[in-house]
Amino acid sequence: MSRGHHAEKATGKGDPQCFKGEASAPKFKVGDRVRIRDLPDIFYTRCQVYTRGAEGVVTVVTHESPAPEDEAWDNVDKPEWFYIVRFKQKELWPEYPDVYENDTLQTEFSERWLESA
């Protein structure tokens, strides 16, 4: 692999488009209820601590890409599916006011962080 392999792979396609077709079938679909796992993350992660253990609903199956925990170390051979998950704010912050119970937050996870709820 050349030192510029990231740029070479993405040229003319874009990142994350350049990883299309490299992950196995997505485990979750839009509407699935999921829980965010609390995996160890001593080196690098993009999974926010405030989402760990929370339950939400998959709203978009976005794209395939290596997980940031791997890509940060140049391990790009195992792309996985990414998902946008929607949470009730009350699920994330127990003190969130009841009067705004409809308020939500969405953020994105690679497949390894999700389990069926």
Binding site: P16, Y50, V60, T62, N102, E108
Partner: protein, 230 residues
């Protein structure tokens, strides 16, 4: 006493990240990856891009339901119609940011607002550089937890029956908000509409208003003691 009145440094010490940036840049120039002039040109370009193409994308969507459908389904392709190719936004071969643009549509029952709690993910090719406040820890840590309070500090009150939906942009997707077309803009042209879709409206901290344009004249304050003859 003398110690007490020592002048403070004009700027704080440079951060580790600034040192790292200088080191990597100088190495890249030394190795011939790009020249100092290339770097200057790119920096100049990067500072000149702004939110106008995104405002155009929203205005087109308000007028053309087919284009709106495309913008919501495939922001990458819709961007090309307003002159932005995410693969080559600079026009001189420098790589772009991540290329998965998602447009979030506001409705009478949902208001979106964008943040990146991890750092500063932002759809730069179509919105330009992020405002300074977008990158501050204050905005990032408070918006996810107290969104309505933060929005009210921007002067935006969202009614309780409207869902405030925070989008925490933390991976390779990039997000912009498509606000609702305000009343009082019936029969407006695309050019007129594009002028009122300002940057903050597309981050979700403001709503477009028919009387407010990005290039409105600023108030003029006359000098209290004008120089004679001026």
């Amino acid at each position: 006493m003398a110690e007490k009145h020592k002048p403070a440094p004009m700027v704080d010490e440079v951060s580790d990240f600034e040192v790292l940036e200088v080191a990597v840049r100088e190495l890249a120039i030394e190795k011939g990856l790009f020249s100092a002039e290339d770097h200057r040109r790119f920096a100049e370009f990067a500072h000149s891009i702004g939110p106008l193409p995104a405002g155009r994308l929203v205005a087109k969507s308000w007028l053309d339901p087919e284009f709106k459908k495309l913008a919501l389904e495939d922001g990458f392709t819709a961007s090309k119609e307003v002159g932005i190719d995410w693969l080559n936004p600079t026009g001189f071969g420098t790589p772009s940011d991540y290329c998965d643009l998602r447009v979030l549509e506001n409705t009478p029952s949902v208001h979106h607002v964008v943040v990146c709690t991890l750092c500063s993910c932002y759809p730069r090719p179509i919105l330009g550089h992020s405002p300074e406040w977008y990158r501050t820890p204050n905005y990032r840590r408070r918006l996810v937890r107290w969104p309505r309070q933060v929005l009210s500090e921007f002067g935006l009150q969202i009614p309780a029956d409207v869902e405030v939906r925070v989008e925490d942009s933390n991976q390779k997707c990039r997000f912009m908000v498509m606000p609702m077309r305000p009343e009082g803009t019936e029969d407006w042209s695309e050019d007129q509409l594009a002028e009122i879709v300002t940057r903050d409206c597309m981050l979700g901290v403001a709503l477009p208003h028919p009387d407010r344009k990005a290039d409105d004249k600023r108030p003029v304050h006359k000098a209290a003691n004008p120089v004679h003859g001026h």
